[in-house]
């Protein structure tokens, strides 16, 4: 068997919007809009640069609900480039882009193989006259596939190197919908050498050997929960059939989240300088690519008073954006979250026999009191269960409610003690 190379990607979610961003200017909007497409272009460049033998795409190329023509055309354009360089592409569709959502008139280049949704099919990959690998794959015909598809994969006798291409949830990953659920044992018993998986957005290698099973993650983080480097795997298969998967970051814009303790900050300028330092550090970490960042200010200190002054935070954020956005690569300060507290000894205040002490004690004990939680839930229903609220808002999670509780305590203390001399 000859050695060969391929690239494995999944969950491109082309032309889908970034979420979790509360404000953008026109220029940044353009960059964000194109980020998923740019990341895919980077994958194509990677294939060309490393002269790989083929590209594997394990589903969720675009989001069917968006009906984005741009996404499908951009995908086709990339595959055309690969086809011109004689690089084959093997595609399966996932829950976000089932076969039923494809635009029929888009013609794929001849080197592209899209797997059908009826059954697992196999396609040989040739180099000259020699078959170097066999790709087995199946697409989602519709979005909601709950069948264990991995059990339908079987290695062909005499196959030099077998690849399973599947969009699925292995071992019930709780962060993702349980589409095509299967276990690592199911994957192992199919006899594949390499499982090119899709669906889970964090890249990880489930199994390094017999078989090698890999989630490449999504090549572009699209919300603050998808932090850090994103990319695909460049896999080298040696002559004796051993796989060496290497993660390659291709993200066009990187998400970053940093926390800053305000303890010791005496004035406004020190806050500004610290946030600026964070931006510089992020720029350095991102290795030449732009970034969207969230800065969370925490801790206790006199700077809390500045941060809670009306308009201060907005001014600070805009100032940071003005400066950091002009640099190349830019760092877009999406938001600066204030979770700071006044420089008060809360424990001591809580022990006090005055109203503040009473308030703090109630604030602490009410957090987990079912009646209180239920009362709050009823009150906020007026917003979240309204017609528009249901359409555009999700009821806050338990974590968010907990954060709101902390914020409420801080806000009340600020108002109660705000004019303290």
């Amino acid at each position: 068997m000859e050695s060969f190379k391929f690239v494995h990607t999944a969950d491109l979610h082309l032309d889908t919007p970034f979420s979790g961003i509360s404000e953008v200017n026109e220029e940044i909007a353009g960059r964000l809009r194109d980020a998923t497409l740019q990341a895919f272009d980077n994958i194509v460049e990677l294939c060309l640069q490393h002269k790989v033998d083929f590209l594997l795409v394990a589903g969720d190329i675009y989001d069917a609900t968006d009906r984005s023509l741009r996404a499908q055309l951009r995908f086709r354009d990339g595959l055309v480039r690969l086809s011109q360089a004689s690089i084959s592409t093997f595609v399966v569709h996932g829950n976000h882009d089932p076969l039923s959502s494809r635009i029929a008139t888009i013609q794929w280049p001849k080197e592209v193989q899209v797997f059908g949704g009826d059954e697992v099919s196999s396609v040989p990959v040739r180099r000259g006259d020699e078959v170097i690998a066999e790709i087995h794959g199946v697409s989602y015909p519709t979005q909601d596939v709950r069948e264990n598809l991995a059990r339908n994969f079987h290695r062909q006798p005499g196959s030099p190197f077998a690849v399973g291409l599947l969009h699925c949830n292995v071992d019930q990953d709780t962060g993702h919908e349980p589409y095509a659920p299967c276990t690592l044992d199911d994957l192992a018993s199919a006899g594949m050498d390499y499982w090119a998986l899709g669906h889970v957005h964090a890249h990880r290698i489930l199994s390094t050997d017999s078989p090698t099973a890999v989630y490449p993650g999504n090549p572009q983080g699209r919300h603050p929960g998808e932090l850090g480097p994103r990319g695909c795997y460049l896999v080298e298969v040696s002559a004796d059939g051993r796989c060496l998967p290497q993660f390659m970051s291709v993200d066009a814009i990187r998400w970053s989240s940093e926390t800053l303790d305000i303890g010791g900050m005496e004035d406004d300028e020190s806050i500004i300088a610290s946030v600026r330092d964070i931006c510089s550090s992020i720029r350095e970490q991102c290795q030449g690519r732009p970034a969207v960042c969230r800065v969370s200010l925490s801790g206790r200190g006199t700077a809390h008073h500045s941060l809670t002054k009306p308009g201060f935070l907005q001014d600070l954020t805009e100032r940071m954006r003005d400066t950091e956005c002009r640099l190349d690569p830019f760092v877009w300060v999406d938001r600066i979250e204030v979770r700071t507290r006044a420089p008060l000894d809360i424990d001591s205040l809580r022990m006090g026999q005055d109203f503040v002490g009473e308030f703090l004690r109630i604030a602490a004990e009410s957090r987990d009191r079912p009646e209180f939680v239920s009362q709050i839930s009823d009150e906020i229903s007026r917003l979240y269960d309204s017609r528009l609220g249901r359409s555009f808002l999700q009821r806050p999670s338990d974590d968010e409610i907990r954060l709101c509780h902390e914020l409420a305590e801080t806000l009340c203390l600020d108002v109660i003690l705000g004019e303290q001399d």
Binding site: S22, A29, R33, D345, D354, F355, A363, S391, L411
Partner: protein, 1048 residues
């Protein structure tokens, strides 16, 4: 807890100030202290100072007066606090950031900071302290501008530990912030609703453009149909274009076809030259040039050969010189050495003469009998020197030993004399010391120990005797008591026998009998009871008596033992029986004295013994020293004899000392060096003479061979130089001859080679002419011209044929093409072409229309492919939703905050208000002298009502200013009581709060203050001496102090 003292380093008008004054060394009263001071004496400053030391100095941002030190410097000072256990704490604060540098000194002397102070103050905040515990008229009067429920809220807010805002203000502010985000009436102007509506708008736009995908498919279908039609038209146009091209080809071929015909005609007129050598003309020219060049070279070589032969005949050489070349080369090499030797020999001989003279002087210095041979033979080796040094050091050592032995013998002799004198003195001293009767110290010490033991035992012995006497007395008493009890028992037995007789007698007189019988039974019963008691006593007494007798017996035994022990001790001490304490003490003193004398006598005796031992030892040492000196003398004499023998063996005079002998050895060595040097110089002079002679002989041999005369040393080295010059000249001439002969031979060889090349060129010329069929060069050139013309015409014909083939195609096509040309004319062809072109243009116009249509569809497709509108809208919606989420969560937080505040307020009021109102009611009733016995504040309501003694209720706005202030003061006292009940009793400091009270109410308020001061320390500042009088009337033990007027 109470405030004991205040010390101010710097604060407002105060600098290095103490209250109470330092000289008083007093503290504030732990109950009530009144500080009287005129206006501007600093009362309010003091109030502020206490707040600042406990809770931090104010900075410029505060709206309150920060009281900067008037006399310069920085804020600073301390207060002394005493807790309920009487433990003292010192809280000091100096200027610094964040309220100043705090140091809390604990009762054990350790220091702490804010945590310790915070715990000490029961976690009270600055505001709580300011509003409830340390307040002035300002704080009281601040309520007056507020509405009823606000006042109520403010009263409780005084205890919330917060800033100036009341709980109501806080709630209102939170509600305002919440309302700006979202209200339940869903007002569209609220931030959350604005965002929701924007989201809805963007989504509508997105839905509107979602049809792009189906439009794209439809346009693709239209495009495909258009492409099919265009392909059809394109095919038709290609056919017309092909016909047009054919016509054009025929017209283009007309000219080459005509030219080809003309060339064929000219070719037929030329004579035939079928062959001609390729490159014939250039080859001819090359051969002719070569022939000319070879001839020129031959002539040049011949001239060189002739010149060389003539020059060779003119050279002349002497062969004998050349034959002797090796010898002459050696002579030339040895010339420099010979010249040097000829110069060195006379100098060497002169120096040799000087050296011989110097040697003679050295030999005579060594003495008679010394010549060169003896000098060379004399032993000056290292072993000889070592032998001399060994003799020298042995002699020195033996002489030194002899001297040391003499000195040692003298020393010992001196010490022996001293020792004899010292012994004599000690013996005299011993004779003067009294000799004790008993010489053994142990005997005296044993007696002393026994005497001391006897003295100690005598005291115990006496105590034992006394104890026995006391016990014997007690046993006598017990015996007497037992006898008396027995006697009483006997009497009672008699009495008990009488009633029995009387009873029998009375049975006969029933009534009286029963009465008497009753009396007698009672008496009998009492006596029986008494008897029982007595018997019990008797038993106890007897038991005690038995115990006492046992103890007496035991003590008797002890006394007997003690007596035996004391007798033994007395005997050991040398006494006859047990002596008295006085006698024993005297014996102890006498024994102590004897022991001291014995110690002195023993010391003197020991010293005499030590001195005697020393003298005997020294006499032994003196004998040994004398023996050593004799032995040293013998060894010295032997060493001197050995040295004399050595000198004689070496032929040196015997009076010579070892250093002198070493010097002679050195002189012999230097003389030997001179002898050796002279021998060496003689050998060198002989060697030079020999080599010079050998060189002169060799030179004369060569000269003779060359036919010259033999020469003497005087003519050297000039004759050698001449010989060498002649030899070198002959050599050069010989080399030149050889070189010229070689050149001639080479030139002859080259000339012959040129001759051969010339002959070869002539042969090549003839062969070339033969190839062209020419006889000479001229005819060769004419035949070449004909051959060239023929080739040119053939090329033209060939070229035109190719052009025709290119236009028409090869073979069959060309033949048909030629036939077409032969059957038509250029004019006919032009007409046909015009007709075809018109048809083609019509087709192109139709195609252009189709292409335009296709371009339109492609533009639409391209536009659809490029459009980013949907992407932008999706991003916009995402951003709006995120913003919305943030605002919604903010609203949730405010909602939670509102609920927390509401709960906290409800609980605070529920748990605290009744107690506060009750306490407040007590104080208010007191201050108003019972006019308002009740305060009413229903649960859940903020307002407070007053009920007078007639049951009539009033609300706050109905009260006069003074009564309102009294109410606030009473409620504050209620808060203080409530707070103190739950936490630390903090000191209460008030600044002239009674000014608006009428005299009666002021007096009652003073009573209330006095009552409050029972639990909490109260310090009241006032500028009115009357107020102080009112307070001291209510609390006579209160402490009054005055502040100085600090105006001006």
């Amino acid at each position: 807890m109470y405030l004991a003292r205040i010390h101010i380093d710097g604060y407002g008008i105060f600098s290095n100030f103490d209250l109470p004054a330092d000289s008083d060394e007093q503290s504030f009263s732990r109950n009530l202290s009144i500080v009287i001071g005129p206006n501007e004496s600093g009362k309010t400053t003091l109030l502020s100072f206490v707040r600042s030391v406990l809770f931090g100095f104010l900075d410029g941002r505060s709206s309150e007066n920060p009281y900067p030190p008037v006399s310069g410097g920085k804020h600073g000072g301390l207060v002394t606090l005493v807790d309920s256990r009487g433990e003292k704490y010192v809280v000091a604060r100096s200027a610094g950031s964040k309220g100043g540098l705090l140091r809390t000194t604990m009762p054990d002397g350790s220091t702490g900071g804010s945590a310790e102070l915070d715990a000490l103050l029961g976690h009270a905040s600055r505001d709580l302290f300011k509003n409830v515990f340390a307040f002035g008229l300002d704080e009281l009067q601040a309520f007056q501008t507020l509405a009823n429920d606000e006042v109520s809220a403010r009263i409780y807010s005084a205890g919330i530990g917060a800033g100036r805002l009341s709980i109501g203000d806080v709630e209102a502010r939170m509600e305002k912030m919440r309302g700006e985000l979202f209200t339940t009436d869903r007002a569209t102007s609220k931030q959350v609703m604005v965002l929701l509506n924007e989201c809805a708008g963007v989504r509508r736009q997105l839905v509107a453009i979602e049809g792009q995908a189906s439009q794209y498919t439809q346009l693709h279908e239209e495009l495909r149909s258009l492409n099919d039609r265009l392909d059809e038209k394109r095919k038709m146009r290609e056919e017309k274009t092909k016909s047009l091209g054919h016509c054009d080809n025929l017209l283009r071929a007309w000219q080459p076809w005509t030219e080809m015909q003309e060339a064929k005609e000219k070719l037929s007129e030329l004579p035939v030259v079928e062959r001609f050598p390729s490159d014939g003309i250039s080859r001819l020219d090359v051969i002719l040039e070569k022939i000319r060049a070879e001839k020129e070279k031959i002539e040049a070589k011949q001239a060189e050969i002739d010149g060389s032969e003539k020059e060779l005949t003119e050279i002349n050489v002497t062969p004998a010189l050349l034959d002797r070349a090796p010898e002459i080369t050696n002579i030339e090499r040895g010339l420099a050495k010979y010249v040097s030797a000829k110069e060195d020999l006379p100098k060497l001989q002169s120096e040799l003469g000087v050296q011989i003279e110097d040697l003679k002087r050295s030999l005579s210095n060594l003495g008679p009998g010394w010549d060169e041979q003896r000098v060379l033979d004399f032993d000056t080796s290292i072993s000889a020197r070592e032998a001399i040094r060994s003799h020298g050091s042995r002699l020195a050592e033996k002489r030194q030993q002899l001297q040391a032995a003499g000195y040692s013998a003298k020393q010992v002799s001196d010490r022996l004399n001293d020792s004899n004198h010292h012994l004599q003195r000690l013996k005299e001293n011993l004779d003067n010391t009294p000799e004790p009767s008993e010489h053994d110290k142990a005997v005296v010490e044993t007696r002393l120990r026994s005497a001391r033991s006897l003295l100690a035992g005598l005291a115990d012995y006496r105590i034992r005797l006394q104890e026995r006497d006391a016990l014997q007395e007690r046993s006598s008493d017990k015996k007497a008591y037992a006898t008396s009890i027995q006697r009483q028992l006997s009497q009672n037995a008699e009495t008990l026998r009488l009633p029995l007789a009387i009873t029998i007698l009375l049975c006969l007189v029933p009534v009286i009998g029963w009465i008497v019988l009753f009396y007698l039974r009672r008496t009998s019963s009492r006596l029986q009871k008494q008897n029982d008691n007595l018997e019990n006593d008797l038993t106890e007494t007897r038991t005690e008596l038995k115990s006492l007798l046992e103890r007496i017996s035991s003590i008797d035994n002890d006394i007997q033992n003690e007596q035996d022990r004391l007798k033994a001790a007395a005997q050991s001490a040398g006494l006859q029986g047990i002596a008295s304490a006085t006698e024993t003490s005297e014996l102890i003193a006498s024994l102590d004295d004897e022991l001291a004398k014995l110690a002195v006598w023993h010391a003197a005796s020991d010293k005499v013994k030590e001195a005697t031992d020393l003298t005997v030892g020294l006499e032994r040492d003196l004998q040994a020293a004398e023996e050593s000196r004799r032995q040293a003398e013998e060894e010295t004499a032997q060493a001197e004899k050995d040295w004399t023998d050595w000198l004689e063996r070496h032929g040196i005079t015997t009076d010579c000392l070892p250093p002198t002998a070493l010097e002679i050895l050195s002189n012999v060595e230097s003389t030997r060096e001179k002898v050796e040097n002279i021998v060496h110089m003689r050998e060198r002079a002989k060697g030079i003479e020999d080599s010079m002679k050998e060189y002169e002989n060799a030179t004369n041999t060569v000269l003779e061979a060359c036919g010259d005369m033999v020469v003497t040393r005087a003519e050297f080295p000039a004759v050698v130089d001449k010989l060498i010059d002649r030899w070198k000249t002959a050599q050069k001439q010989h080399e030149r001859m050889e070189r010229m002969q070689k050149d001639i031979a080479q030139n002859v060889k080259e000339r012959d080679a040129f001759q051969k090349a010339l002959e070869s060129a002539d042969k090549d010329l003839q062969q070339l002419l033969n190839e062209a069929g020419a006889e000479d060069g001229e005819s060769f050139r004419q035949r070449h011209k004909i051959f060239e013309d023929t080739a040119q015409l053939r090329a033209v014909i060939d070229q035109r044929r190719r052009a025709l083939e290119q236009i028409a195609g090869r073979k069959e096509a060309l033949e048909s093409f030629v036939r077409e040309m032969e059957s038509t004319t250029p004019e006919n062809l032009q007409e046909t072409r015009r007709l075809i072109d018109e048809e083609r243009q019509a087709l192109e116009e139709e195609m252009e229309l189709l292409i335009d249509e296709r371009r339109g569809i492609k533009d639409q497709l391209e536009k659809l492919e490029r459009t980013q509108e949907a992407s932008s809208l999706r991003l916009q919606l995402s951003v709006l939703q995120e913003k919305l989420k943030g605002k919604a969560l903010q609203w949730v937080a405010l909602t939670i905050g509102q609920n927390l505040l509401r709960e906290a307020r409800a609980k605070y009021e529920r748990e605290r208000k009744p107690a506060v109102v009750q306490q407040g009611q007590h104080f208010f009733s007191m201050i108003t002298n019972g006019r308002y016995p009740r305060l009413i504040s229903p649960p859940g309501e903020t307002q407070i009502q007053l009920e007078d003694s007639s049951g009539h209720r009033k609300t706050l706005p109905e009260l006069s200013r003074g009564t309102a202030e009294q109410l606030y003061l009473a409620l504050r006292f209620g808060l203080i009581r409530e707070f103190s009940r739950r936490s630390e009793c903090l000191p209460v400091i008030m600044d002239d709060i009674l000014v608006n009270f009428d005299p009666k109410r002021a007096s009652e308020a003073a009573r209330a203050i006095a009552e409050l001061a029972n639990d909490n320390q109260v310090i009241l500042f006032t500028c009115h001496p009357n107020t102080a009088d009112l307070l001291t009337a209510q609390a006579p033990q209160s402490m009054v102090m005055k502040l100085q007027d600090r105006q001006g």
